[in-house]
């Protein structure tokens, strides 16, 4: 394995881990639930994405043939992360989980019906 490849893999691994940790720091520090919701939807998806890229590069140059199946994890997370965030936000709105009543949207006061 050449030095450039190793540098690339190392870079993506550390960047990915850093983004994952930043998301967790967000959920540790932020005061209310809706702000905490921003952590896992953004930082962790790109964090895992960068690690998957690192893994794909590593196995492509260090194994048997090209390896791209890590892309599937990234793809899957990019599809599911907004969905689970939306579900959590919806559940929170339904439970009136508001520490800051002034930020309430008027729509959440009425019943929003059975559609999901």
């Amino acid at each position: 394995m050449t030095f450039v490849i190793e540098l690339l893999v190392s870079f993506f691994l550390v960047v990915g881990a850093f983004f994952a940790m930043a998301g967790s720091i967000g959920s540790f520090r932020l005061p209310d639930f809706f702000s905490r919701l921003h952590g896992p939807t953004k930082s962790t998806t790109l964090g895992v994405g960068a690690m998957a890229i690192a893994s794909a590069i590593y196995f492509s140059f260090h194994g048997e043939g090209i390896s791209f199946h890590e892309v599937l994890i990234t793809l899957f997370l990019f599809i599911t992360a907004p969905v689970s965030a939306h579900f959590l936000a919806k559940a929170a709105l339904h439970q009136r989980l508001h520490e800051n009543k002034a930020a309430l949207p008027p729509e959440s006061e009425k019943e929003t019906g059975p559609h999901v």
Partner: protein, 89 residues
């Protein structure tokens, strides 16, 4: 280079998991705990990918994919249960 990067990445991810664990234990609401668990799933996927590179084994990929699928279903099922008191309608 890789021998430095992998321990650094492991340390960062472990710190992330500990912060998530704090949020999981502290709450204050049930939804905060679900969110913390969801973040822990995603960080666990990152850890599995890292282990795959560290041990040079493709087996960890399948474990990571299964965690991704199960974590998503778990989050959706629990938040839907909180929303309606029922998972299937």
């Amino acid at each position: 280079m890789l021998s430095i990067a992998i321990p650094v990445a492991f340390a960062l991810l472990t710190a992330a998991q500990l912060l998530n664990l704090y949020r999981l234990l502290k709450g204050p609401t049930l939804l905060d705990r679900i969110l913390a668990l969801d973040t822990m799933y995603i960080d666990a996927i990152a850890m599995f990918i890292l282990m795959g590179v560290y041990f040079h084994s493709a087996v960890y990929f399948e474990a990571a994919l299964i965690i991704a699928v199960m974590g998503f279903i778990g989050t959706v099922a629990t938040s839907k249960f909180l929303m309606r008191g029922d998972i299937l309608e």
